[in-house]
Symmetry: C2
Subunit: 557 residues, 2 copies
């Protein structure tokens, strides 16, 4: 039996377009003799649809599109489509009104509907808000082949692999007990660093233990802060990787299932990325490309300070949209170093992007004059530093508004963590490209970009980081060195370590306390930040839910 | 048996302070002969603690504080405290690691622990993210009185009242079957318009049907976007209201339970607010007061445009913090009408607040000059309008940064819905005070404020609303009249009506389509908005989870 994985990039909520995309893949697949075509979780509406699910008309339209799709696709194919269905017993039983489902389409009909059993409610996942859990194992048969169906999280409760239970039931065990021949999984699994290795390790473990072939299908594409990396793959019953789709691109790959010996074959194995940097870079490029295109932008603008953050973001934007669609704005102040301009110009040359110079000295003077009587007898400080950043933010938004360019924000995760960024200033933008990339990783990404030829000017990488908001300022005036800062932040934010745990690192206690307080104090800034592309398991986005008017950190640090 | 309700205002995460507050109430209560003291849900950590719950050290500290509290309070009192406890079987059973619990403290010990059974996952509630459900009815006895314990949502599944089941189990029925004498409920129920009437109607229904007295205890205080309105109350076994605590204030009220005839008595019944306007106004005042104080601010600043929104917010701020702690900034441009200044000055006089005049003409000119070469041959438009708003936003933030004042944002819900507001401009602020108040309600609140004496200058109420960002501009140039706009928005946003449903209102189809599109297009602005005080069941805050890069509205409207 020939199977195919359609690794699709849906647009959230664009049901007719998503259905059409599925149909196109079905036609292609049938031309190659495919019997069973798999698409990602919620391939009909895109993942995550969030509160669109609260609209009855949205659910109804999905039902209509699914019925149309069943009648549109070639009748000989078996197609698994991710969609949302109603729970007809919700009111009677006191359950949520919807299911996260998979529909089996064949021969003009919706032949079966399967419901997701394990609903994630951690990190960015909020499925208990919308869905009831399916309460029975999901499978169907083609000829005599019994195929178990799982939806994303249904796979993620392997007690042997994790050493603990994550949910009360294990859908895989149920399917094994039912003696399915083959297990398929329709996923929408967002990218984080190293996740593909984890997926492959976990499924290899499952395939080997139960001696079942597994086909795993993932969504690709950027949806707001989440990047879905694709990387769909298949394992034979020995747990050997026999097929792998592209990372961070649409794909359609073919497999053969041999019922006589319950085995799976393929010739397509796209390589995994070789380094963490390569992996992150491609995820960020996809995130920018899709956020821009799905929001209707073809061009982007960003401020080029001559620093490493904006240099990296300009490079990502160029990879995503082409150099002709990237506009860098140089906005020197009297506090800017001479190299801030020459370095930025060198970057512009290297990337071949457009640029404009807008000195902010005169606008600064006009603000100073306006505030003169109010600020008389006060010292130059944060207020004045922030004015510079906000002038730049206002100029960038003026260009964005005037010409319809998407403004990209360039702050890194280390800054966002400690609030070393200006709300309504350098934080401005529709998308915050490297908001989840720690500064030390910004450096390593730039070094990786320069592995063959200089893309990021070396002086940008080598000079001490500075916001240049007052004379001779460098970041290390007010922050510890970035390797120490990032280590403390990783322990505190990603690993949830307590003050006491972090002190075990040997870092200075006073510095740790200062950092922890800064993280808490910056909560109000992060609340108002642009969506930032998620690359770690603990990003400041959908999955970060912190109170602002809170005192925990202050009283206990 | 004498009982008391401690209607407390915790600070999220400030465990030692919250515990001390509970202890102080226990001492007071014992002095009045109280045997049983009730506090709100999670009174130890404040509700909602959000992702602080992911920190082991936070949970551990709560355990320590609870043990200390048990030993600190007078030994003769029975005290119910809301706290978080660990689920020791979580890993083994595949459950969430915590319970939302109530501890019964008495005689130096933690005598019993009860777990919340119904975990809300709608609107602003995300309890499935953190908690396992308790799986048994909760009760304890004092002498021969059997007291059933419920935690907030445990009450909200009365099939008879709602005409449907909201959850699979009903904790109240379980308690009735166990023949408890009295039912207590520890809640943290956020304010929305009319909610107190709903609470009283629902509990009256339950008390009557089961002939059980009910004591309902609610948290008070503002926590970021949520305002908890208190309004704790008690019903006797006939469903009659026999006690009611204050709305929007701390309170400690006493009740007597008579075991011989299973009845509850009290003499304290604070009145409910008489009008919706009075209710909303007090909730907003509490929200501002607590956000400021819990974030460490004593003074606020805001822009005074001479319009009705900023006038209302200035009045709320004055009620919350005192006129000496409110600074209004008047920032006229060449497009400002003469009355924009005179009206704002009249308001400043009426309220007795401080004000400063900062004309923005010169800063506007400096931006124009800076952008001149880039914007040559383009028309005056949105870009230029927004620059004015962003200059004002930057001036306000400069004052906030310089003097440590909290900046209040003044946009209303109608504007926030359709994006008739400037990101990084008038949207600037730490708290968006009336972000959930539709414009028509802004008017009625101002008329209510003026019921006895003129607080909001009449001209501010009567003149046509205008952003004054270009000559002779009024809001109705680009928006339908506010009564029509607010009706469409209510149908679309609060009632989740489809295009077809909204058309039944008789409103113009083209206008409806325009509004629906504007709402979708403004999603990126709302993503970056300050926390806005919630007063409706569908606010743009914690409970609003919409994708940005989405196409549903455009393709289907």
């Amino acid at each position: 039996m020939k199977c195919a994985i359609a690794q699709l990039n849906p647009i959230i909520g664009n049901l007719s377009r998503n259905a059409q995309q599925i149909n196109e893949q079905a036609i292609l697949a049938v031309q190659s003799g495919v019997h069973l075509l798999l698409t990602p979780e919620l391939s009909m509406c895109g993942y995550p649809p969030k509160d669109l699910l609260l609209k009855d008309s949205f659910i109804e339209q999905m039902r209509i599109e699914l019925e149309k799709l069943a009648q549109t696709i070639p009748p000989q194919i078996y197609l698994l489509v991710g969609t949302v269905t109603e729970n007809p017993l919700a009111l009677e039983r006191g359950q949520k009104p919807l299911y996260n489902s998979v529909a089996l389409l064949h021969d003009g009909d919706i032949e079966q509907i399967f419901h997701k059993r394990l609903l994630p409610t951690y990190d960015v996942f909020e499925e208990a808000r919308y869905f009831s859990s399916g309460n029975q194992p999901n499978y169907f048969s083609i000829d005599d082949i019994k195929i178990g169906v799982t939806i994303c999280e249904d796979l993620w409760n392997d007690e042997n692999f994790w050493g603990q239970k994550n949910y009360e039931i294990n859908p895989i065990k149920d399917l094994v007990n039912l003696k399915v021949d083959l297990i398929v999984n329709l996923s929408a699994s967002p990218y984080i660093v190293g996740k593909q290795k984890l997926r492959e390790a976990m499924l290899t473990d499952i395939a080997k233990r139960y001696q079942k072939p597994i086909i795993y299908v993932n969504q690709i594409g950027g949806n707001d802060d989440l990047v879905f990396d694709g990387n769909s793959f298949a394992l034979n019953s020995k747990g050997e990787l026999i097929a792998k789709a592209k990372a961070c691109e649409d794909d359609l790959i073919y497999l053969d299932y041999d019922a006589t010996n319950n085995n799976l074959f393929s010739t397509v194995i796209h390589r995994n990325f070789e380094t963490e940097e390569e992996e992150i870079y491609h995820a960020l490029v996809l995130g920018v490309k899709d956020y821009a295109s799905k929001c209707g932008f073809s061009k982007v603008v960003l401020g080029l300070s001559g620093g490493i953050d904006s240099a990296l973001v300009a490079t990502i934007a160029t990879s995503a949209l082409g150099n002709e669609n990237v506009l860098g704005i140089l906005m020197p102040s009297p506090y800017s170093s001479s190299h801030s301009i020459t370095d930025a110009e060198q970057l512009v040359d290297n990337l071949g992007i457009n640029s404009t110079l807008l000195p902010i000295k005169n606008v600064m003077a006009s603000f100073d004059n306006t505030l003169d009587s109010l600020f008389v007898d006060t010292e130059f400080g944060i207020a004045e530093e922030n004015i510079q950043s906000r002038i730049r933010g206002t100029l960038l938004m003026a260009i964005s508004n005037k010409f319809g360019y998407l403004l990209l924000s360039t702050g890194n995760k280390s800054e966002m963590s400690v609030g070393y960024c200006t709300l309504y200033g350098d934080m401005n933008g529709g998308l915050s490209v490297i908001a989840d990339v720690p500064k030390t990783k910004v450096f390593s990404l730039c070094r990786w970009l320069n592995r063959d030829t200089e893309i990021i000017p070396e002086n940008i990488i080598n000079k001490p980081p500075s916001a240049e908001l007052k004379p001779d300022q460098v970041d290390q005036d007010s922050l510890p060195p970035y390797d120490i800062l990032d280590d403390i932040l990783d322990r505190y934010i990603n690993q949830h370590q307590s003050m006491v745990d972090i002190e075990d690192s040997g870092d200075d206690v006073a510095i740790i306390k200062k950092i922890v307080k800064l993280v808490a104090r910056a909560e109000f800034k992060r609340k108002q930040a642009a969506p930032g592309l998620k690359i770690t398991d603990r990003a400041f986005g959908t999955g970060w839910k912190m109170p602002i008017a809170s005192r925990w950190y202050f009283d206990n640090s």
